[in-house]
Every structure is written in C-alpha cells, then in structure tokens.
Amino acid sequence: MMELMTTAFATALLAGAVTAGVPLLLAGLGEQMSQKSGVLNIGLEGMMLAGAYAAFVAALGTGDPWWGFAAGMVAGMGIAALMALLAVCLGLNQIVIGIALLLGVEGATAILHHLAFATTYPRLPPAPSWALPGLSHLPVVGPALFDRSPVVYAAVALVAVMVWIDRRTGFGLSLRAAGEHPSALDAAGGSVVRTRVAAVLAAGAGAGLGGAFMVIVGAGIFVPFMTNGAGFIAIVLAMLARGRPLMVLCGALLFGACLSATTALQVAGIDAPTDVVQMLPFAAVLLVLAIFGQGGALPAALGEAWTRGNPLGK
C-alpha cells in the first residue's frame, strides 16, 4: 500500500478526480441557472451527449480541439433551443420534453456513430494543456491542477462568473424572479420567456461543453451512451447546491474525488466488493442530506410553465 503512494499515483488520482468532475461542474452550473429561472431541465444528459458527439466530429474533422469545444457548446445549445421552444415558449410539460429530448439524442447520436465511426473508432490526439507559470511545478497538485486544459480553468472561473451574474447583473435578478415569481418579473417590465430561454440555452452551453470535455479531454473517443448518467448527477448537484455556484463546484469535486477514491481502493488491492465501494458518492450525498438537509430551497415556480395573464400560473 505504502509503496503505491508515489507522486505519480497521487497525481493521477487528483487529475482523475478533476477530469471526472469538470463535466459535472460545467453541466451542473448550467442546470443551476436553468433551475433558478424555473425550468427543470431533465434532458441535461441529452445536451451533454449531443455536445460530446458534435465535439468529437468537429475536433476530428478539423484536427483542432478548440473547434471541438465550440461545436460541443453549439450542439448542446441546439438541443437546449428545442427545450426552450417546446417547454418555455410553447409551455409544454418540462419533464416530458426533457426526457423525450434525452431519448432522441441518445438514439440520434448512436445512429450517427453507427453510420460514421463504428468500423474505425477514431481517437483524438491528447488535448492541449496550459501550464500555469509557477504553480505547475509543484509536486502532485502542479500537474494535476495547474497543467490542465484551459477548459478546466474556464470551468472554475465560470463559478466566479456565475456568482457575479447572480449578485451583480440585472440578468441575475431576472433569473431569481423568473423562478420565484415570474409574474412579478413580467410586471416589472422584464421578460420571463427571454430570461428562461437564455437560462436554458446557458444550460445547454454548459452541458454541451461538459460533453465536449468528456470526449476531448476525458475519453479521447466517442462511444454511444458514453455520458452514462453524468447528466442526472449534474442535475442532482445543481439541486443540492441550493442556488450557490460554489456548492456545485464542491459537489462536482466531491463526486470526482469519490470516483478516484474508488479506483484507489481497488488499485491498492483493498479487497472490498466493487459494488459496495461504488456506492460511495451516493452514500456521501445522502449522508450530507440526512445531516444538513433542511427545508427545500427550490424555486417556487420550478417546473411550471408560465404564460402572461394566466392567474393559475401565479
């Protein structure tokens, strides 16, 4: 066990936690924005998957990972645009549309992959990383945290941006109002529809970028259904965070750390049943809920369609 605790191993664990956590963080931040505005974006996983596929195709086609990230974001927003059109503008049931979009994207990306890559399985070259001067030479944390893809830094910076949006912009206020009391936003001259559409698109962008990261930095390859439930975990993280972007970061890192810990235990040869070890992250969340859980702080109008002048829609 002790001989295993090399810098290389510790670095890999930490780096692995970050790699697993960043897609959750990106998607979770987006979802949080969407939830704040009152839209429960249950199709987040579909947006991630669409982002992953588009990023893969673009990065492969252009040979440039930046195009991949851009394409992933655009694809995530494309699915989000459908969500916005159907669930926000037309007011259709958010859960039905979210799940439908997820199923549709799963099917569509699997078909496209089947047609295009099922016999070649191309892989992407390693994604470029930026070493932060000074920090990247630290042992363990240097390579694991400070010599990473710029998207990692961007994701962390995004937390600050989200906090800033919430506290310092008119849009942040509109978001809160759209989720808590949409009619009040409307009466104040804001636009509920535009706010919600923007938030859903942002969620799509975050999820798409998360999917892109998963493909370009994480796996280096696309395979059907590869998001493997990450979207749902991001939704849970967004809910657990109760509106605070920093808590999404903590949650995503905790989740990544649990995954790394699982691997570490196995690699160290600690003979625990794999299934038991893999309960770790979920048990951690439940423990947090059971100990600290208090009254739900979800936006009052979460999940409800809004139309002006409908008295039942508050």
């Binding site: 808590e180 936003l185 804001g190």
Partner: protein, 534 residues
Amino acid sequence: MTHPVYADATPLVSLAGIRKSYGAVRALDDVDVDFRAGEVHVLLGENGAGKSTLAAILAGVQQPDGGRILLDGTERRIASPRDAMDSGIGVVFQHAQLVPSLSLVDNIALGGPWWQTPQRARIAQRMREADARIGGTGRLDPFARAGALSLGERQRAQIVRALMRDSRLLVLDEPTSMLTPEAAADLVRLMRRLADDAARPLGIVFVTHRLDEALDCGDRITVLRGGRKAGELRPGADMTRDTARDTLLGMMFSGGLAQAPTIAASLPAASAAPVLEVQRLSIADADPPLRDVTLTVRAGEIVGIAGIDGNGQRELAEALAGQRPFDAGDILLCGASVRGLGVAARYKRGLRYASDDRHGEGTVSALSIGLNLLIKRIGDAPFWRGGMEKLAAVDAHARQAIEAFDIRAQGPRTLAGHLSGGNLQKVMLARELDGAARAIVFAKPTHGLDVRSAAACHARIRAAAAAGLAVVLISTDLDEIVALSQQIVVMAGGRIVARIPGGEGAHAAVGRAISRSEDLSAGGLQDRSFGEAS
C-alpha cells in the same frame, strides 16, 4: 378641499369600446372611459364586474379583444407590462407583484438592462426620495426582503416603484382592502396628494369596494356592471352623500341593496353560559409570540378582535381551530378542554374556523364545491361509507348549501378554483356553519367582497349569533367590527391590550386603542401608516 380638474386637457389614457372575453365570459363589453392627470378616478362594481380586467389591460397583462386605447390622444397598443411602463402607466396589482426572496431595491431594479449591475446604492437613495415624496417616514428599508414586509409595506413599495419609473397614471387595484382604516385613509389622502401635485399631477385609477372611500376621494366614479359601463358619477356639492351612495348602489346592483341594520343585535341574556373560553393562552413559537390571551364568548355573543394585521390574530385563530399547538393555557368548549383534539375532532364538536385565506388554505381549487364543503370531515357517513365516496350524498349536501347560501355556481361539481371570491367565501361559510356548530371564528370575512356580498356575509354572521353560536370576529375593518360586535378586544404584539364594550362610542375608543398599540409595537414588522411626514 378644492383641487384642479384638468377636464379639458387631453386624457392621459382613453379607452374606447374596449371588449374582453374569457371564453364565453364577457369580462368587459364595449367600455368607454378616460383617465386624466390630476384626477382620482374610482372604479366601482360588484365582484366579477371587470375592474381587475380593466386594470390588467392598462397594465399590458391582458390584451383587449376589441376597441381602441389612446395614449395622450394617439392610438396605441399596450402589448406588455414593459410597454405600459414605458408609456407612463404604473400598476399596483391586487396580489403583490414583488419577488419575496429579493430585497426591495432588487425588486425595483428588476426589469433593468440585463447586463448592468444594479446601482443598489443609487436606487436606495432614489427610493428614499420617492418615499419621502409620498410622505414616508423613512421606515421603508430599501434593503429589507420583500417577503418579510407587511402587506401595507409591500403596497407602499409598489407605489414607490411606480413613482420612480416616472409613471403619469397610477393604477391601484383594491389597495385598501387589506389595510386598517387609518392606513386606508392615509393611502386615500396620498392619492389625493399625488393627483394634486402641481408640479407633476398624476392620474390615479383607484379600484375599491368601499363606497365611502370612493366618495371621499373620487373626482370621478365609473361603475362597471357585468362588464359594461353602468354609469359615471362626479361627486360634488350638488349631491348629498346619501343620494350619491344610492345612485352608486343603483348602478352597481340591478336589484338594489337591502339596507342592513348598523347596530349590534341585542346583547345575549346574562344567563347565557360561556360557550368558548380561552384561558391565558400562550404560544412562544410565533411571531409575535402569543401571551396570556383570555377571552370568553357566550352563546349568541359576537366578540370582535380588532388590531393591525400580524399581531397574533392568525395564531390565536389557528390555535382555536386546532391547526397550531399551544404551550400554556387552555381552550374550553362548553366547559370541556379541547386541548388534545385535532381539527376534525374540534370541527365535530362544533368549534369552527373560517380562514381569511380563501385561496391559500380555506379551499382547494382543484376540488369541487361538494368536496370543499366536506374537507374537514373526510370519511364521515353518509358522504363516505367504508371509505368509499358516495357521490349522490355529496352532491345532495352541496346542492343544499348552494341553495341555502346562494352560491352562484353551475352545480355541486363546479371546481372551487372557478368561483369568484364572494362565492368562495360562501362555500367556506356553508362548511363552517354546517351541522351542530357551537362556536365559530371568522377571520376577515368580507375582505375583497363587494358591498352586496359583504352585507350578505354580515347578515350570516348575525344570523349565526342569533341562532345561539358563540362568534369570534377577527377583522382589520373597524367599521365591520363595530357594526357587529357586542364586545371588542384589541390585540397588539400577541396580547390583548384593550377590552371595549360594543355600541355607542366604541369606534373611537377602539381606534384610539389601536393607534396607541401601534406606537408601542413600532419597530416590529407591523403595518405602518401612510401618514404625513411630521
């Protein structure tokens, strides 16, 4: 009291031939009306007459089906609330349009450019200025959460917001219905002052159910009936108040209005035994905490509980009904403690509570009238047998109530959510007065009801007392309390601060007690007056 009326200036807003239907309901039918700067224009009409719809059209919340809207003489469409705002129309809605979790400053910043940082300090400054302009005493904290404010404060904040946006026409939908008489009077004076402001005369549209308010401050009164304009009145020297009232009532209600007696029914016989006794009731876990409340209500007696909203009346009522546990003291019904009993058991023994929150807790909008009449005794025969609902029995019971209480609805299965406020109130009264009622608590029973519905409700309350029930009447409407109660207690800060016998002179005495208590409890989250800055 003379004031300029700019009768010949171009109206700020004119509506011509406005029509609006919801499905087959004609909420507004060919309505012509105009609103001018410097004029307080009152809209009157019974429940469902179309007043809120008119306000909603001015606010850009509803689009008319037909007719024209002229702003400063030119035809315009008010496509959205933002449009209304940009045209200088500010609306204070009946149900506060503030986000409870945001501060007042943020609520005012709402709707600003999305990329800009709200200038909170500047907004707060301007807010204080605007507040001062309407005679604020500086007690409206710009950084308080909207959800933590009293109804009056929220209304005030909305008026401030409208003024800060340079509104020229201020529309207020039933702003006084939730206020104490003093606060209402202050608000009425404020409207007057805003209209009379020589530098910036505002146009005011004021929706109310109170004829006296209308007559006190209205330069012009437009009456709506069934969506049509029933008439217009300019109260003036040429008309006595009584004639004006009669004229208005005649316009509002086709059948006219049976005048209700204004003095309390005769006192119960001295021998009548106490039915409801509240003994030194205390609840620590309340805001404000309830302390040592003691009350005795005899059969046939109406005890009024006056006071500003939020001084423990709701907690007392809930404790009586069994919705809220209490720490110390006791509640006796016909001499027996009800302490260990739940809502249903108390209901069964005849202790009843008609809540003031008709939509929020008193009824379930998704359920039929029939079931709403029974929600406090679910499972009881003959409406349920072996747990199975007996539709015929439920319907028959509901038909009786509809008949007896004159509930205007298609039938027993009409959903409560489709009823007007007045009819919803009747459903609740029917439920609480049903069967062997012995004591009943009415909380703000007539709030939001039109004159006729309110009178009918008052008649019900008197009838209940006359039938030997012990009645507790909680209200912020002093006229109502004085008109109905044989005994009046004033609540403040969770205690009873005064006990005043009903009848002659009660009105002034209770009013004094309330304003004294208000001074005492200043600093809490009570309703604050709209009084002039001193």
